[in-house]
């Protein structure tokens, strides 16, 4: 087996749901850890106290600006990791922590929770609350192929990861409204219902074939927008869905 990549899980203000989701790959998690990635840092799983050098940092949770150690940790993660991934809605968009207004206090003044991209440059987003085990798995496999694969695999992995990298460039705010701004207002919605299926809190219903978003329910995890086939759709990758599905199945066996 080729040399593994090194991965760390950096835990900020989040509920550990993203990590649990990663673990929900069941035996797939062991496969990834056995063959593709060394987990060099993870507060809940590995006895390592300080952020080490690593290839990929998976950051879960938003940064509490009043928590000095959180701010230091996210900066350190950026300096020590080649690739920083915002894992889940909180790291990418603030998600529910953005609106907690002091509700999560270790100390009462802890009230400002921002997505990590407000403090550091982020390379890749995995939206969703929680992000799905399969999406995290796919990113792990593609990150491995990108760093350690042959030329053909590097090209495929690059093409696969590009839209998620573009999401990181797009900004650190997302919610159901993005469907309105970037899809419906742009005359692109064709009423497939992907957004409604993707929403983890059932804030989206389909009315006369178009999404109706309950803004009081929306937690701003970004899943609906990212899942929409009209937010991004790369023919190079999607046309190869059968081969890629087989590839993923193959490397996980």
């Amino acid at each position: 087996m080729v040399e593994k990549i090194t991965v760390g899980h950096v835990h900020l203000s989040g509920c550990t749901g993203c990590l649990v989701s990663f673990a929900d790959n069941y035996e797939g998690l062991f496969k990834i850890l056995d063959d593709y990635a060394d987990l060099v840092y993870a507060l809940t799983l590995a006895d390592v106290r300080h952020i080490p050098e690593m290839d990929v940092a998976l950051v879960e949770g938003s940064v509490c600006l009043q928590d000095k150690s959180s701010v230091e940790e996210i900066k350190e993660a950026r300096e020590k990791a080649k690739v920083v991934v915002a894992l889940g809605g909180c790291a990418a968009y603030g998600n529910i922590t953005r609106f907690c207004r002091g509700g999560q206090w270790n100390q009462p003044q802890m009230e400002s929770y921002v997505p990590i991209a407000e403090l550091i440059d982020v390379d890749l987003y995995i939206p969703g609350c929680a992000p799905t085990p399969q999406q995290i798995r796919n990113v792990c496999i593609m990150a491995y192929l990108l760093l350690k694969g042959n030329d053909e695999q590097k090209e495929l992995a690059g093409a696969y990861l590009k839209p998620l990298m573009d999401l990181a460039q797009r900004g650190d705010e997302a919610c159901g409204c993005d469907l309105m701004y970037d899809v419906i207002n742009q005359g692109l919605c064709m009423g497939c219902g992907s957004c409604a299926a993707a929403c983890p809190v059932r804030a989206i219903s389909m009315e006369y074939g178009k999404p109706n978003i309950d803004r009081d329910l929306c937690i701003k995890c970004g899943a609906c927008y990212a899942q929409c086939p009209r937010s991004f759709f790369n023919f190079d990758v999607m046309n190869e869905f059968e081969g890629i599905s087989e590839l993923i199945k193959g490397v996980m066996e």
């Binding site: 085990p133 696969y160 497939c192 409604a196 299926a197 993707a198 991004f232 999607m238 046309n239 869905f241």
Partner: protein, 287 residues
């Protein structure tokens, strides 16, 4: 790539008269799902079923042949079938999902498999995705205008709607037939369809539509291993009668012609969008 990747293509129709009676053309989708249900290839299928309003489809998860029969026929308005994709694995506990949809919905299915951002445990549960040929779709209010205002027929009295031979047709329960030129319907199309670059559901496991085949038959493309398995078994079980596509009129030439027209026209829309404003463009969803 106008016709996408495919392993085989034939003209076919169901051998089940009960299915054919209410089918749009060859009853391919209903028959293939009914067979797949019976054989355990799928546990259920997401289809465009009936709702309280006439000709307004509602996505339903069909787990019996009766439910499939109730959903026969083409509805020319939006049915957000993908909205039930995750629900099918939850409330219905399906491990093998069948789903039918338009080309854009097949794109959504494949995106959900490769980028399952909000689709936990969905990617490996798509057992059979059947795509239908689609030039464009209409919002429900458009359909109302086309049928009630232009064809002068009440929606609730309509037995069948069809597009063919350059016309939009409404057949009523009492035998009246109303038709309007397709040209009249263009302004009622859903705008999201005008950037679609797929006519024949390139990304489906099996895709089908009336174009290319004689009346009462459908053209069927078998595209993937999944599709080939299901289709091959269904043929062996005598579910369909088939004819080589080369031997039927109008054949693949017409499919290719319409597919090329759609792609060329919508490619132009995409290009026009790029310079829509002054020095500013609209979003291109494919970049």
């Amino acid at each position: 790539m106008v016709l996408g990747n495919y392993k085989s293509v034939v003209a076919a129709r169901s051998t089940d008269n009960e299915i054919l009676k209410g089918a749009q053309d060859g009853g391919i989708v209903t028959q293939l799902f009914a067979y797949a249900l019976e054989e355990g290839i799928i546990d259920g299928a997401i289809v465009a079923g009936p709702s309280d309003e006439p000709w307004k489809p509602e996505p339903v998860i069909a787990t019996t042949k009766a439910e499939l029969l109730a959903a026969r026929g083409t509805k020319y308005t939006l049915s957000p079938n993908i909205a039930l994709l995750k629900e099918a694995t939850r409330s219905y506990g399906l491990d093998r999902i069948g789903i039918v949809g338009t080309p854009c919905q097949m794109q959504a299915v494949r995106k959900a498999q490769l980028y399952p951002i909000g689709m936990r445990d969905v990617p490996d549960k798509i057992a059979l995705a059947i795509g239908i040929f689609c030039m464009e779709n209409f919002p429900y209010q458009s359909l109302e205008a086309m049928v009630e205002d232009h064809c002068n027929v009440k929606l609730e009295s309509v037995k069948k709607l069809d597009i063919g031979k350059g016309k939009f047709w409404a057949y009523t329960e009492r035998g009246a037939v109303a038709q309007i030129p397709l040209k009249v319907t263009h302004k009622y199309e859903q705008p999201g369809c005008h950037v679609c670059l797929d006519y024949v559901s390139n990304l489906a496991d099996v895709s089908t539509g009336s174009v290319g085949a004689p009346d009462g038959w459908s053209t069927v493309f078998v595209r993937t291993q999944n599709g080939e398995n299901a289709w091959g078994k269904a043929i062996a079980a005598g579910c369909f009668e088939t004819k080589p596509i080369e031997e039927v009129k109008p054949g693949l030439d017409l499919v290719t012609k319409l597919a090329t027209e759609k792609i060329t026209k919508n490619q132009k829309t995409l290009e026009a969008r790029a310079t829509f404003g002054v020095g500013k463009g609209l979003r291109n969803p494919y970049i």
